[in-house]
């Protein structure tokens, strides 16, 4: 039990690191209304670029910065595939993701390794690592606050508002003189930049970047987003709250993760569990609308027929 409690701060840290990634998913999935599957690839790209820079003796700041730039480029490619070539967004993301697998292997191979780069805090200078969880906790906490504030400000500007409008109603946006294609590309770049930043942070925290570290990332991101929305929906429609909710969603995901691991669930089943959670959360509003409302209508009608009133 003590061991379980001791693992909770680590879960919060992981939640916040993946929260950065989830914020990226929030931008593409909720704001731009595009399910962008690039993230499974760009997450690794961010981690790999950062790890390679640190491995070669560069500062972790440069590593993080170049990781973000790499992520922006990933988003740019998906965006151009979608807007210039007219490939459906979901397919454009899959294509980039597939191509990134090769790119990521090549990036990692710069160091002479085949599929992962070790950058343990014991021998490398990194921003934080799991060797010191509490140090990590306040650092990632600051990153969380800065990011949420920065994007809150951004989406309040003319440019940010026009991106929100693009995701909301493209036809209207064009009629109001908004360059929707540019905004979609920009939005996807920002989204993947965040995802890559998250990858860079995770690589340093866990002490290595691995070609497989992004597998299923999109599902974790979606999981955090849908949990976050489910929670904040009843609190406030404020954008700051909604974005913070995404991080809370990611933390909840990792707390649940730690708990089911502690309870002895086969870790092989975790990805399936994540997919299940997303399916339930995404499907619930539909189920509610189609079945529950019908049930409640029938219920009320029965009452009406029985001579009651339907004011409840």
């Amino acid at each position: 039990m003590l061991q379980y409690l001791a693992s909770l701060p680590g879960a919060v840290v992981l939640g916040l690191i993946w929260g950065v990634m989830s914020l990226g998913v929030f931008i593409s999935y909720k704001i731009l209304d595009i399910p962008d599957l690039t993230v499974d690839g760009s997450f690794v790209t961010g981690g790999a670029v950062c790890a390679v820079v640190i491995f070669m003796g560069g500062s972790f700041w440069i590593g993080i910065l170049l990781g973000i730039v790499a992520g922006l480029l990933c988003g740019l490619i998906t965006g151009l595939l979608h807007t210039l070539l007219g490939i459906p967004a979901i397919l454009a993301g899959i294509l980039t993701q597939l191509a990134l697998w090769s790119v990521n292997l090549k990036i990692i191979s710069i160091t002479g390794q085949s599929s992962n780069v070790g950058i343990s805090a014991r021998s490398f200078d990194v921003i934080f690592s799991q060797l010191n969880v509490y140090d990590t906790l306040w650092k990632i906490g600051i990153i969380f606050v800065l990011l949420v504030l920065a994007f809150y400000v951004f989406f309040g500007t003319e440019l940010g508002a026009s991106i929100r409008a693009t995701g909301n109603n493209q036809k209207m946006s064009r009629a109001q003189g908004i360059n929707t294609k540019f905004n979609i590309v920009l939005g996807l770049m920002l989204s993947n930049g965040l995802v890559a930043l998250s990858g860079a942070l995770l690589a340093q925290y866990q002490g290595f970047a691995d070609i497989n570290m992004g597998r299923g990332a999109i599902v974790i991101g979606l999981c955090a987003v849908v949990i976050g929305i489910a929670i904040t929906k009843h609190i406030s429609p404020n954008f700051l709250v909604r974005m913070s909710g995404v991080f809370v969603g990611a933390i909840i995901y990792y707390l649940v993760y730690q708990t089911v691991v502690f309870l002895g669930l086969d870790t092989d089943l975790l990805k399936m569990l994540a997919a299940l959670v997303v399916a339930i959360f995404l499907g619930f509003p539909y189920l509610y609308k189609t079945y529950f409302s019908k049930w409640s209508r029938n219920h009320k009608n029965k009452k009406l027929a029985a001579g009651g009133n339907n004011n409840d």
């Binding site: 951004f154 309040g156 500007t157 003319e158 440019l159 940010g160 508002a161 026009s162 929100r164 409008a165 909301n168 109603n169 036809k171 209207m172 946006s173 064009r174 009629a175 109001q176 003189g177 908004i178 360059n179 929707t180 429609p237």
Partner: protein
């Protein structure tokens, strides 16, 4: 002035189901014209508006705005010269954004969306409130509510407002558009406008100096200078040649009769107040006769009747129906079913 020259639009080009939506159409709108367009389903009315606004390109022909071809411009670029209201109340607004955010989006039409300006400033709020008050729907009290919560009629009225409010373009843009839309030697136009602007600014500076050197107190000086600025602004605005042209695509079709009438009256008032050039598609013959100074009937992608001025005022639904029947014998049955009012 808008001129459509020889516009052709085909759908399903080169296939067995090829249809000609617009068939070598020519149309000229003078500044301040309010045209109502009627015609049966498939006559090409909506296609026409979509082509003018740039939602899709025409296969042939030119669209001239003040004698300048705009047919190569993207839809979002053309939006600075056109304001649109769609048939579907869901289309014209961003439903997840608030009333004021929607207005701010429209207000920024034709300007670069900057990263360094808020989408709206506290100083804009009063302006938006006053504009909303003119609609008389109480929307001014719902500034911070999401548009998704509004009714269809309220949304159409809001979209109408969004199509017509546009922030005053910057002086540079006024100059640029003056040259772009000048009919004749562009170099001369540039010299002319530069000289006019320089003169206005020089006059402003001179009188400002006078005020500053006069013996007035601080407050009076401030007020005087503000007044001078307004005079300057008015002088320079004379050269703004690009008032938005209003494109209305059956914008009351989805509303109940009472709301539709209210939205139409608002439309008429806004058009008259701002002397806007307007194209309004409608399925209602009464409205087509009641509003505007010119009526156009379309059939199979062509203008088959064009009635303006006194002649239009004398129109009755019966004469319109007769005209309609003679002009479209083939699809008479289907169309009279629609027009049977």
């Amino acid at each position: 002035m808008i001129e459509l020259r020889n516009i052709v639009k085909r759908f399903n080009n080169g296939t067995a189901s090829e249809t000609v939506a617009i068939d070598h159409l020519n149309l000229t709108l003078q500044e301040g014209d309010f045209i109502t367009v009627i015609g049966g389903n498939g006559a090409g009315k909506s296609t026409l508006i979509n082509i003018i606004a740039g939602s899709f390109p025409a296969d042939e022909g030119m669209i001239l705005l003040n004698n300048n071809d705009v047919s190569k411009m993207h839809e979002y670029q053309r939006a600075q010269y056109f304001g649109r209201v769609f048939q579907d109340p869901m289309v014209g607004t961003a439903t997840d954004m608030t009333v004021i955010e929607n207005l701010a989006l429209a207000y920024g039409r034709g300007k670069t969306r900057s990263l360094f300006r808020w989408s709206y400033r506290p100083s804009d709020v009063e302006f938006f409130v006053n504009e909303l008050k003119t609609l008389g729907l109480g929307l001014e009290d719902r500034l911070y509510q999401k548009v998704g919560l509004l009714s269809g009629g309220q949304r159409q009225a809001l979209t109408l407002l969004m199509a017509t409010i546009r922030s005053e373009p910057s002086y540079n843009k006024v100059k640029r558009d003056y040259v772009r839309f000048f009919d004749g030697d562009k170099k001369l136009a540039k010299q002319e406008i530069d000289a006019a602007f320089k003169q206005a600014f020089d006059e402003f500076k001179a009188s400002k100096k006078e005020v500053l050197e006069s013996g007035l107190n601080k407050e009076e000086k401030k007020a005087k200078i503000k007044e001078l600025k307004n005079v300057l602004d008015k002088k320079l605005r004379q050269y703004d040649v690009t008032k938005p042209v209003l494109l209305l695509d059956e914008h009351t079709a989805a509303l109940d009769p009472k709301t539709a009438e209210k939205v139409l009256e608002t439309t008429d008032r806004i058009v008259k107040e701002n002397n806007l050039t307007t194209i309004m598609i409608t399925h209602n013959m009464k409205d087509a006769i009641k509003y505007g100074n010119r009526l156009i009937m379309m059939s199979k992608g062509k203008v088959v009747a064009d009635i303006a001025g006194e002649e239009k005022k004398k129109l009755t639904i019966e004469t319109l129906l007769d005209m309609f029947v003679t002009n479209s014998k083939n699809d008479m049955l289907a169309d009279s079913a629609i027009f049977g009012d």
